[in-house]
Amino acid sequence: MKRISIDPITRLEGHGKIEIFLADDGSVANCYFQIPELRGFEKFLQGMPVEEAPRIVARICGVCPAAHHLAAGKAVDAVYGVEPTSTAKKLRELYYSAHYVHSHIAHFYALAAPDFVLGPDSDPAKRNILGIVEKVGVGIGGEVLKHRRIAQDIQIKVGGKSTHPVWSVPGGVSKGLTEEERKWVEEAAASCVEFSKFSLKLFEDVVLKNKAYLDLILGDVFEIDSYWIGTVDAKNKVNFYDGDARVVDQKAKEVFRYKAPQYLENIVERVEPFSYLKFPYLKKVGWKGTGRSRSSSATTGAWPTATSRSPSCAGSRSSSRECRWRRRPASSPASAACARPPTTSPPARRSTRCTASSRRRPRRSCGSCTTRRTSSTATSRTSTPSPRPTS
């Protein structure tokens, strides 16, 4: 059986590879997404002072350290039974929001956009952020770099450090914000909002107005038949720092919701021999394998307490490409989790897409759909060993 190896997967945080097996007729027989790395935070955190966990687990991911830092920070608050002050909560949320801006600029322009702005058939040597700057010009490219800088600088202003933060302490934060700094942040944030509007317009012009891209996005290739989880406030608005984890089904209908301490009642992880990454799924739905059309796997939106490195970060690129941009037309039937690419799309052109299993037989589907979903418990549970008696 012919195989195509994508090794390493690029333009994402973390290590991954994809093995695609082709049947005799050239169609995809099966596809495996593998994570070749493991560091074992769950183990080496054991025996450490629990208040150090936020400063250690930030190193799970250098692209989204704020998520891990604050998730563990909240867990440590709970261990000590302390509620952060209102000011501290706002500062943490502000920090995370700035992180979100930096991370999404990096994601959109450096990780995902090269496929669209330069095109999937462009020279791989140019298909990156520097190629984008070359194509769109230093003017626009400079704005991209400038606003990513501003977002990082907001984090530095608020929390002292962007990668890796050290600032969350039980019940609060270790540094406040002066009025002068607050004013600077306010102006900087306003500039980021304007830049975001520009980015949305760019997305509309370059992607949504391009029929070939739109067909690709709306086609089976980008289809993921997954549950979705996002952290929401009381009004079901997304909140990146706190709230309920809200689980919705494939039609965006709420199935259930839970709070962070109920994590273990809701999320379970499977182990497969071909990957160091675990396979999380929704406990209430049950394990249905990796290739079913109604997988119990769920894709996280915003849920800082439940992000682990590889799923969320690997997903940050692919989920946008494969999941979040997906807007299924009302008339389009739900399709299998991993659908064969439409025959009109060039074969195996960008194999990092989820162009997985053939529909002819039940199979283990492409892990890139399933493993990049609900994340492990690393930060919310096992990173917080039992507290020692305090001195």
Partner: protein, 319 residues
Amino acid sequence: MAKLKLASYWASACGGCDVAILDTHEKILDISAAADIVLWPIAADFKYKDIEAMPDGDIDVTLFNGAVRNSENEHLAKLLRAKSKVLVAFGTCAYLGGIPSLANLFDRKSVFDCVFHASPSIDNPTKTDPQTLTKVPEGDLSIPEFYDTVRTLDQVVDVDYYVPGCPPAPERILEVFTAIVEGKLPPKGSVVGASEKTQCDECPRKKNEKKIASFKRIATEQPADHDTCYLEQGFLCVGAVTRAGCGSRCQNSGMSCRGCYGPPPGVIDQGAKALSAIASVIESKDEAEVERIISALPDPLRSFNRFGIAASLLRRKLL
């Protein structure tokens, strides 16, 4: 002048070193003007086969971040050593082992038992462990071998320069890059992109004579004085045994030095030096009292040696 060929690779790492390169912000355009990037998994689409196809010594400079945790990391370290004129251990994981080398207090089996079996979220009825080779109906699937011991880059291959930091400060990265472009790198084996002083020397906080009568934990107490040395106030700080160069990032965050820039010049073992430094400021000559004071410091091994167990004289716990 021909453009340099530059590679950046991550082994057992978090991506923070690569983000630090991106954090040179607009200056990254200067880097790209002087150098062609030939490998950078986080941001560019080159594959391992592209590197394997290069003649030896074809890459001018490789910035190698991450520790050597598994057989793939080792393979890439050897491959990139062969393909690179200059190999830089970039960031504290490659330089000293970093946070991943905290796992050297354990072995593969105990890590697997915890991660894949004992974790409270695990459902593993078949007691499966990841395997280096898995046979599936379509063929064989492989993943790297997870070693018992995390190693630094220079415990695996010859290293030309070391850039400390978790992650390296972006302004220091630019200094290093400028030195590379201008051909002004110091003698081989040097630590670059950092200071020759200690973090204590550069810390903005006021320092008086240190006499510690009791240690406090940041979890339960906070420094009463935000302008005075943390250690003097009883909070563990390893700035006295850490190389400067970060710009006092943690102190600016209201936190004591964690030690991520590694030992200052002349210090062989950062953790041992920290032990010695802490012992010298205990305010008692009475053995029982000293014991009482010291016992308030939880987990001294990992607190003193947080970023460098692989490079320490200890290296790992006995297997």
